[in-house]
C-alpha cells in the first residue's frame, strides 16, 4: 500500500546519486514482495509447466533418466494421437468434446434463464414461503453432489433420462441453479428499485420492467453467472460418470479417466489430454477474468 509513495520517493533519491536508509528499505521491501510472490507463483504454475512439458515429450523420453523439465525433442505427436479419430486413443475425443460443450453450454444457459426471474423475485417481492425457499437455495450449496447420486440415478432411470443430454443437464441444474440464484440476487440487489418504479409510471408492466429495464442493466452479472456455471459443468465428474456412462455420452473428464485406465502408463497422452481440456476454461477465464471474480466475490464482500 505504501510501496507506491515509497518507490516514487526512491526514484527521486536515486537521481541524487546516494541511497538513503529509506530508499534501501523500500528496495528490500520490493525484493521481499517479488521473491515471495515468485515462490507462490512457482507453486501454482510449476505443475502446469510439468503438464505441458510431459505433453510435448516423445513417449519414450518420460522413462529416460535424468528427467528434465525442458524436453530434448519436443513434439506434437501426443496431441495428435489423443485427438485423431483414426487412432485407438483418440477415437472418441471428438464425441467427448462435443458432449462436454453441449452439456456445459446448455446448463449455463438454462440455469441463467431459470434463475434470473427467481433471483429477481427473491430480491424484490415479498411472498409467503420466501424465506424457506431462499434458505433451501442457500443450503443446497452446502451439500455434496455425491449424496444425491443414488436417488438421482433412480429418478433418471424412471424418467428414461440416463445417457441423454437432457438427463445430464437436469442433473447439472442441481448445483448450477441454486448458485446462479444466489449470485444473481446479489446483482439485482445492487440495482435501485426506483428504476422499476419509473418504468412502471411510464406504462411498463411489472414483467416488462424486469425484461426491458433490469435485465439489460444486469448483463455483466448474467455473464458472470453463466461463466461460473459453464466452468462448473465443464469440470464436473461424478454425475457425468454415473448418469452418462455409455461411450457415446461421456464428457471429457469421464473420457479422461477411461483413457487412463485403458492406457495405464501413457503419461504423455494423458497430459496432452489434460492440456486440451484445460485450454477452453483457461482462455475463457483469461478473457472474462473480471466477471468471473465479481461472481465469486460479490456475495462475500457485499456486506
Amino acid at each position: 500500500m505504501s510501496a507506491v509513495s515509497q518507490s516514487s520517493h526512491a526514484s527521486v533519491q536515486r537521481a541524487s546519486g546516494r541511497l538513503s536508509a529509506r530508499t534501501r528499505r523500500s528496495i528490500v521491501r520490493l525484493t521481499i514482495i517479488y521473491v515471495c510472490t515468485t515462490i507462490l507463483a512457482l507453486f501454482a504454475a510449476l505443475p502446469m509447466v510439468w503438464m505441458f512439458s510431459t505433453a510435448v515429450k516423445p513417449r519414450a523420453e518420460v522413462f529416460r533418466e535424468p528427467t528434465t523439465i525442458i524436453p530434448s525433442n519436443a513434439t506434437w505427436d501426443n496431441f495428435i494421437r489423443v485427438v485423431q479419430p483414426t487412432s485407438t486413443s483418440g477415437r472418441y475425443f471428438g464425441t467427448y468434446f462435443l458432449n462436454s460443450t453441449i452439456v456445459s453450454v446448455s446448463s449455463a444457459f438454462l440455469s441463467v434463464v431459470v434463475a434470473a426471474p427467481a433471483a429477481y423475485a427473491f430480491s424484490r417481492f415479498r411472498f409467503p414461503g420466501k424465506s424457506p425457499a431462499y434458505f433451501a437455495v442457500l443450503a443446497r450449496n452446502m451439500f455434496p453432489l455425491i449424496v444425491f447420486l443414488v436417488p438421482l440415478f433412480s429418478l433418471m432411470t424412471s424418467l428414461r433420462l440416463t445417457n441423454t443430454y437432457p438427463g445430464l443437464i437436469l442433473a447439472y441444474l442441481t448445483f448450477t441453479l441454486p448458485l446462479s440464484i444466489w449470485l444473481l440476487k446479489g446483482f439485482f440487489d445492487a440495482i435501485p428499485p426506483e428504476l422499476e418504479r419509473a418504468a412502471r409510471i411510464d406504462g411498463c408492466t411489472r414483467f416488462g420492467a424486469f425484461i426491458r429495464v433490469i435485465l439489460p442493466l444486469t448483463t455483466p452479472g448474467l455473464a458472470a453467472t453463466a461463466i461460473y456455471s459453464f466452468i462448473q459443468a465443464w469440470n464436473e465428474f461424478p454425475y457425468a460418470l454415473n448418469l452418462a456412462y455409455s461411450t457415446q455420452m461421456r464428457t471429457l473428464p469421464v473420457g479422461m479417466t477411461f483413457f487412463f485406465s485403458e492406457n495405464q502408463s501413457d503419461w504423455t497422452g494423458l497430459m496432452a489430454t489434460a492440456v486440451i481440456i484445460s485450454i477452453p476454461v483457461v482462455i475463457i477465464f483469461m478473457i472474462l477474468q473480471r466477471y468471473f471474480i465479481s461472481a465469486l466475490t460479490q456475495g462475500a464482500v457485499k456486506a
Binding site: F148, M286, I293, L296, A300
Partner: protein, 318 residues
Amino acid sequence: MANIRAELVAPLPVPKQRSLAQQIVKNRHAYFYVGPALLIMALVLLYPLIYTIILSLFDTPARSPDYIFVGLDNYVELFNHQLFGLVLRNTVSWTIGGTVSSFILGLAAALLVNNRVPFMGVFKALLIIPYVIGHVTAAYLWRWLMHPDLGFISVFAQQIGVIDGPIPFLQDGDMVMWSLVLVNTWKTFPFVMIMMLAGLQAIPQDLYKAARVDGANALQQFIEITVPQLMPVILVTTVLTVIGNFNSFTIPWVMTGGGPASQSEIIITWIYATGIRNLRYGFSSAISVVLFMILSVFSYYYVRTLTRGSDRSAEFEG
C-alpha cells in the same frame, strides 16, 4: 414492554392481518417468477433428499431387486463399523488441513498481489489458474507429479540430493492423506486469494492514511485495520472452504480411490464406494444422512453469516 408503552401513549394503526391464502393470491405474480426454479429444485433436490432418508432404513442386497426394511440397523452398523473412526479422522485431517493451509497461502498471496507494484496483474492471473482447471485434470496431473519413480517431485528431490530414494506419496499409508491435502491446497488457495483480495480492496484507504498520520507501523496497521476490516470476508471464506473441502470427492477419488487399504478414505469417498461401487444403497444412504446432520451445523452458520450481511446492507439503505 416497548409495545405496551407505545399503545398507552398513542394507539398505532395495526396493519390489517391477511390470511395466508389471501397473501398468496395477492402475491401470485411472485410465484410466476420463482415457480420454474423451485419446481426443478424440488425434483432434483427435495425428492432425492427424502428418498435418501427412506432408503437409509432399508437393506438392498447386491444383485437382488429386493428392498428389505431393517429400521435403524444401517446406522447401528455404521457406528460400529471398523472404518468409522478412521474415516472420521481422515475427513478431519482433509478438511481442516486443507482449510488452514489454503487460508495461509491464500491470505499471503492476496496481501502480496495487493501491492501496487509492476507485474502483479500477471502474478494474479498465474495464481488463479489452479482454481480454474478441472478436478479430474488436477488429480491426474498430481498423480503424475507424485509418481514415485518418474514424477517431477521425486526425481527433482533426488537430483538435488534431498532424498536418496523414490517418495511413495500415494502408496504409503501414513503419507497419503497429507499428499492429498497438498493437492487440495494447490487447488483451493487461489479461491481464498480472490476472496481476500476483494475484501482488501473494499477497505477504505483513509483508514490507513489516518493510521500513518498517527505513526502506526505496517504491522500495527495490519492488526488494527486490515484484520478487523477483513473479518466478515474471512468468516464467509473459511466457512465456504471448510464446506468445499468436506464435500470434495473428485481429487481423493481419482488420486487414490480411498487407498491404500482405506488409509485415505473420507466420508464422501466412502459413501460413493459403498453405494455406487458395492451397491449397498441403504448403508450408503445412512452415511449420507449422518453427513447431512454434520453439514446442517455448518450450513446454519453459513446461512446466518450470509443473511446477517444482507440485513446490514438493508440498514445502510434505510
